[in-house]
Symmetry: C2
Subunit: 358 residues, 2 copies
């Protein structure tokens, strides 16, 4: 483990491989920040001009748990907001080993060659444990990371999924205000983080392998239902025939689902990220999606719905935290749980009593 020290999020905002002790570098950056009493107006100005250092600093403020930083972050995000809408946000998921990094490297490089500015973010609430398993290792995207029109940032760490979600959503706004017009949000194919990423993106892409025997896994976990496209990666060499078979199978599976509100019919594509094959076709598909949903109004509608969802999500989380963290409730809850266990009260009577204390 000592070979791979926990990388600070900040280090990623630089476009060349970092050297040496990143954590202490990041700590000193934050100290400088405080010393200079950096002006948020200036930071916003730099950011709007596409300055990646300013963008990295802004995201560091968003990710900080310090109150003064949070206030600055709020100010910054609010200032960036009017400039944040001209992007497409693409969620990318898939189980470990499916080749997410290679896909993003290949797809991102292609987009840049097409004149796009590409930001890559990640949602991985486990990153505080796994030391940033996704995007943490920049060497896996060594070409993309050198591009001046690419910005790569690993998942904010040390937080609940709710916290990671808020920070990522606010980071998206800053990236967009800095002129990044394609935002790729990578997540791992486990747990709730896929649903979270789905609820903050315009297009949701599921990466798959042929013959991995996990066709049913995605269906089971409800991921196929969310997908706007299934891209079967590593469709090269001996894998081409199994990949075509898998394509047929997924196409059949997709027909089981009711039509989407977006009126978009999810597609199955083959690609080889390693050999840069099938990559332009993926972008063509996403462009078609964007055009179609812009025309039928779904694109805007969906973003509004997502905003509403996050508004309610945030409120509900706060209400629960406030209630359960009240010391009066905490001790009474213990008592009531005991009474329930002894079959002396019902869940509903106990709830009613606890609410009467609030």
């Amino acid at each position: 483990m000592s070979e791979s020290p926990k990388k600070s999020a900040l280090s990623e905002s630089q476009s060349k491989p970092s050297s040496g002790n990143v954590s202490s570098q990041s700590a000193s950056r934050i100290r400088n920040f405080r010393k200079k009493k950096v002006s948020i107006e200036q930071l916003l100005k730099d950011l709007l001009q596409g300055n990646k250092t300013a963008l990295g600093k802004g995201i560091t403020l968003i990710e900080s748990n310090q109150l003064s930083h949070q206030k600055q972050a709020e100010q910054l995000v609010e200032g960036a907001l009017p400039y944040s809408q001209k992007s497409i946000r693409i969620g990318i998921t898939g189980v470990p080993g499916v080749g997410k990094s290679t896909f993003i490297e290949s797809f991102g490089s292609y987009l840049i060659s097409e004149g796009k500015k590409v930001a890559v973010l990640a949602v991985d609430p486990s990153s505080s444990v796994s030391h940033g398993s996704i995007l943490g290792d920049k060497t896996r995207m060594e070409n993309l990371v050198k591009e001046s029109n690419a910005f790569i940032r690993p998942s904010p760490s040390g937080d609940s999924l709710g916290g990671v979600a808020r920070k990522t959503r606010e980071s998206i706004i800053l990236c967009e205000a800095a002129g990044f017009d394609v935002i790729l949000i990578e997540t791992v194919g486990v747990g709730q983080s896929e649903t979270t990423v789905h609820s903050m993106t315009d297009f949701f892409l599921l990466l798959k392998l042929a013959g991995a025997g996990d066709e049913l896994q995605g269906i089971k976990r409800g991921i196929v239902e969310m997908a706007d496209a299934i891209v079967i990666n590593k469709a090269d060499g001996d894998n081409q025939k199994p990949a075509r078979d898998a394509k047929l199978e997924f196409n059949r599976a997709l027909q089981l689902y009711p039509a989407k509100e977006s009126e978009w019919k999810p597609e199955v594509k083959l690609c080889s990220a390693l050999y840069n094959e099938g990559i332009p076709e993926v972008w063509k598909m996403i462009s078609e999606y964007r055009e179609k949903t812009a025309q039928n109004g779904y694109f805007e509608h969906n973003r509004h719905q997502q905003n509403k969802f996050w508004l309610h999500q945030t409120i509900n989380d706060h209400l629960k935290n406030r209630f359960y963290n009240d010391p009066k409730i905490k001790s009474a809850l213990e008592e009531q749980l005991q009474l329930i266990e002894e079959n002396k009260t019902t869940a509903f009577a106990a709830a009613k009593y606890l609410l009467s204390l609030d």
Copy 2:
């Protein structure tokens, strides 16, 4: 529609088919109730002696939205609670047409022949719209309904799923206190009601048809994952071969899932409810489940977990309702949603502001 007037829940508590205008009958029953100032002590006493009329009256109190009835219901449920644990609660789901009523008729009659007392409840939050599509039509269980050891009650209606869930859970307690030792809880194979029933039962049974081509549907919706058994109904006549094939397929699908906390390995059974075939085997399986989970402690553990779940569920629902029903919040929420729509604030800033008003 005039041929099938909305059936009052109360009418179902009688063991013979009702005649004529049930709603007015039920209304007069409630009036009598009030007039007589029925003693809850007496009702509880009758109920504990297995009196089905008292049980029906008790459930009517639980289902009433009148405050005085609710207080009486609370008192009754609390009194019944210590007597309510000696049952097995079985959730039964399946899409319309799978033969749920026929299965319950056949299974329930078998259980009664084995000396059991069987209560049949339902969770169908749509029943206020569909006029009680499940259990509403008693003629579909015409034998069971005549049994003195059977108690059939349709879903409480005119309520949200949360409301229906609370009422059903409290009704279960009364049924158990009245000596019913097998509680069947039927639900329709759509939406959230299956998850709800799963979270209030000990054993969850998914009814299926062979060759209906919907094998993936249950997997997709996460129902197969919850099932302790898949019972393929109508495995008779020409259907026997397809039923055996479906059994193989479901057995294969079940292997995809991780081991259950209960350590129970879900089984696939064939039955023909119409011809009473395979029914004893279903009960044998459930008895084995019960024995196994009693031994390894899961049975009790699961009921405690369910109680905790419902405690938190109830509290969270109340917290949300209280917040969003505050007139001050209501109008401010409108404003904030408008600001979000105009891209002038973020979901998180809006949430923070709204919470500051509370």
